[in-house]
């Protein structure tokens, strides 16, 4: 990293650009607009990549959609696979066999486990363990290995367990095709079940140890917790019919910033009634909002934080204890509002995922061989909603009489958080960015806040600590006032 200060006046409006944002999945840029006084006037999170899935899927047979849309992401393809297959189930107008649903749930939880482990250990733990102001060359998973090798190993192991379960069920770790419209294409055999059950106790031990460690670290980040996205927003997620934590099916629930239920028991197919999408010219990512409150007032958050805020309980022993402790993070009785606590929520969900997988695998009917319902397209419109690691994922298709896709709408978890991420950047920049002088630690906090949301912007996770980062402070005439360069 090189830091150089260039001469110039500090009394004109300027823009700071963080490009690219590192250690997230995809390509993005943050720009901070400074006022004459040096205070942050506006903040924007720009998604700079264009994918076009909703357009190029048109004309394709609907049965291709699970595989096609799973290519949206290499980190959470299972989530797209499930949401897409649920939309196709809706097109077939079938109820899938109960065993198929349980098997799909296990795969979704394994996906949650591996993705949360990636987010916490590989992408965010360098900030948390090594500090925002530490050397960028060290602030990565290798730096974590040097300082706390056991924790790094455990993180890698936890992710490996999640990936291995996906592979055992689906035949491969990334983009399995085992989940199909109507169920899954192969039942589970007992040898695989035993192998999975053998791995999970170790995973639970790692998850509980990490959770215990992180609990002791949370007080250290009091300042960040107060400034990382604490704005009042609503929270959207699926909940089970009993109001419990849910990742595969159930109903949509929306709570406001005070914890009051705004919408409840909304069937996923009714989502267009409550969710609208706006577009802005500075980003390729859409801006979903709660329709009755309009845009942009209908701001809400999704993901682990929203799920835990919305759930009355988890339904598994250790996760329920952790959920109770999670609620204590908020001093008042309302929902946990700081986006910094996404990290905490992720660890609670990891524990839940492992416990729930154990429960499902021990289910007597899990080896049943009736795992697929067969039908042809019986409806012309299908909606599938599931909880991806990063939040509620919606797939909505329309088909013609021949079964070819005529219209697609995908509302991705990260998209739901778009408004909140933009507001959070503004808040954290207000607190930490001094417009007259740039520092690595200050901008790292802006980046780290984005990492709290674990935005998944494309199919790949970037290398960490190696990304080139160039931030420039310019005056209105385009003169460079200050420049910060991180070499690739």
């Amino acid at each position: 990293m090189a830091l150089c200060t260039l001469p110039g006046t500090a009394t004109m409006s300027r823009t700071i650009s963080i490009d690219p944002v590192t250690r997230i999945e995809g390509h993005a840029r943050i720009s901070l607009q400074l006022a004459d006084s040096g205070e942050v006037e506006d903040a924007k999170f720009h998604l700079t990549q264009f994918r076009g899935f909703e357009k190029f899927c048109e004309g394709r047979p609907y049965r291709e959609m699970p595989a096609l849309t799973a290519r949206t992401c290499g980190i959470c393809p299972v989530s797209h696979l499930l949401a897409s297959n649920k939309a196709c189930d809706d097109l077939l107008a079938v109820s899938i066999p109960p065993t198929a649903e349980k098997l799909r749930r296990i795969m979704n939880l394994a996906q949650l486990l591996q993705s949360h482990a990636l987010s916490f250990f590989h992408l965010s733990s360098p900030d948390l363990l090594l500090g925002w102001d530490s050397d960028p060359a060290q602030r990565n998973i290798f730096g974590v290995m040097a300082q706390n090798p056991e924790l790094a190993k455990q993180g890698i192991k936890l992710r490996q367990i999640g990936q291995t379960i996906i592979e055992m069920l689906g035949g491969k770790k990334i983009h399995p095709t085992w989940v199909v419209p109507g169920g899954v294409n192969e039942p589970l055999d007992s040898a695989k079940r035993e192998a999975m059950l053998e791995m999970l106790p170790n995973a639970l031990t790692i998850a509980k140890d990490t959770y215990a460690l992180f609990k002791t670290m949370v007080p250290r980040f009091k300042d960040e917790a107060e400034h990382f996205g604490t704005m009042p927003t609503m929270f959207l997620s699926l909940v089970s019919p009993k109001g419990q934590l849910e990742h595969y099916d159930g109903f949509l629930r929306l709570k406001d910033a005070e914890g009051r239920i705004v919408e409840d028991m909304v069937t996923p197919s009714d989502y267009p009634r409550i969710i609208g999408e706006a577009v802005e010219d500075f980003s390729y990512m859409k801006f979903p909002y709660y329709k009755p409150m309009g845009y942009p007032n209908g701001i809400y958050r999704v993901g682990p934080l929203a799920r835990l805020n919305n759930a009355d309980s988890c339904g598994t022993p250790f996760a329920d204890v952790a959920l109770a402790e999670f609620h204590m993070l908020q001093e008042d009785s309302g929902p946990v509002r700081s986006s910094f606590h996404y990290h905490y929520a992720r660890l609670v969900e990891i524990i839940f995922a492992i416990e729930m997988m154990q429960r499902l695998l021990k289910d007597q009917g899990i080896l049943d061989t009736r795992v697929r319902a067969r039908a042809r397209g019986n409806r012309t419109e299908g909606i599938g909603v599931a909880e991806a690691p990063r939040g509620t994922l919606m797939h909505h298709y329309k088909i013609d009489d021949a079964g070819l896709i005529s219209w697609v709408d995908l509302i991705i978890a990260t998209g739901h958080n778009n408004l909140a991420m933009n507001q959070s950047i503004k808040q954290v920049a207000d607190a930490y960015v001094d417009g007259n002088k740039l520092s690595e630690g200050m901008l790292n906090r802006v980046e780290a806040m984005i990492r709290c949301y674990d935005p998944c912007l494309s199919c790949a996770s970037h290398a960490f600590g190696q990304m080139p980062l160039s931030i420039e402070l310019k005056d209105a005439a385009g003169n460079t006032l200050d420049r910060l360069v991180r070499d690739a």
Binding site: G59, P61, R71, T177, A402
Partner: protein, 243 residues
């Protein structure tokens, strides 16, 4: 299966393929002799039981004394013939041909119902096609899903015409044919009517089974589930020629 019905008496010739001394009936083609002797030679349009068109050019071989490459499917064996089925030049030609097929249409294997069971995919693997060196055309081709049981995706068609021949020569329906030229060429049903409206199609499914790629598939299959069964063809063809 010979190109035409075998004459009453055929002679046996001796020839050498890749250094192996072999004997064969004089009415056989090089590719048939190679298949009988398990000598690998790539092909797409040739199929045991169907007439020969020599369209794909993947089975080109070197024959001593010939100053050009010959299609093994369309060349009869001869006494004393010396054939080379594998050389640097042939490998280069074959790889280029396969790459051109991938560049011309949209063969996206990862989302194809024939993924893992596709002859084009196997060929690409055998020919070492780890990437395509020429730019993809990315031209959009249609999907005809109007038939109740089957679907044709022209994006995945290699114009091998197996469907055209099996429908005409084995089923006797002649539902399939070719229309257009160059990159606009495509297989059609009943003078370019939607397949589902075809008067001649008997829905026998032979075209689907002989199709080497995911162009002709059964409805209701998901990615990687379309496994083709082509064992019926030589049996039906021999019964037919024995009549």
């Amino acid at each position: 299966m010979p190109i035409n019905a075998p004459p009453p008496s055929v002679r046996v010739v001796t020839l050498r393929i890749d250094g192996l001394d072999l004997s064969a009936r004089e009415d056989e083609t090089i590719i048939e002799v190679c298949r009988e002797n398990k000598i690998p030679i790539p092909s797409l349009c040739w199929m045991d039981g169907l007439s020969v068109v020599g369209a794909c050019r993947l089975c080109m071989v070197e024959v001593t004394g010939q100053n050009r490459l010959l299609a093994a499917c369309a060349t009869r064996v001869a006494e004393g013939m010396e054939v080379t089925t594998d050389s640097e030049k042939l490998r280069r030609y074959r790889r280029t041909l396969v790459e051109l097929l991938f560049a011309e249409r949209n063969h996206v294997c990862s989302v194809c119902v024939s993924n893992g069971h596709c002859e084009l995919q196997w060929l690409a693997e055998a020919c070492g096609v780890d990437h395509v060196r020429m730019p993809y055309r990315n031209a959009g081709y249609g999907v005809d899903s109007s038939h109740e049981m089957f679907r044709v995706d022209h994006n995945r068609c290699v114009l091998c015409t197996r469907c055209v021949r099996v429908c005409d020569e084995i089923e006797g329906a002649h539902t399939w044919d070719l229309m257009g030229r160059g990159s606009d060429c495509q297989v059609i049903t009943d003078l370019a009517r939607p397949w589902g409206e075809s008067d001649t199609c008997t829905s026998c499914g032979k075209c689907v089974q002989v199709c080497p790629t995911g162009a002709l598939v059964k409805q209701g299959t998901s990615v990687g589930e379309m496994v083709k069964d082509q064992h019926f063809l030589p049996i039906l063809a021999r019964r037919r020629s024995a009549r």
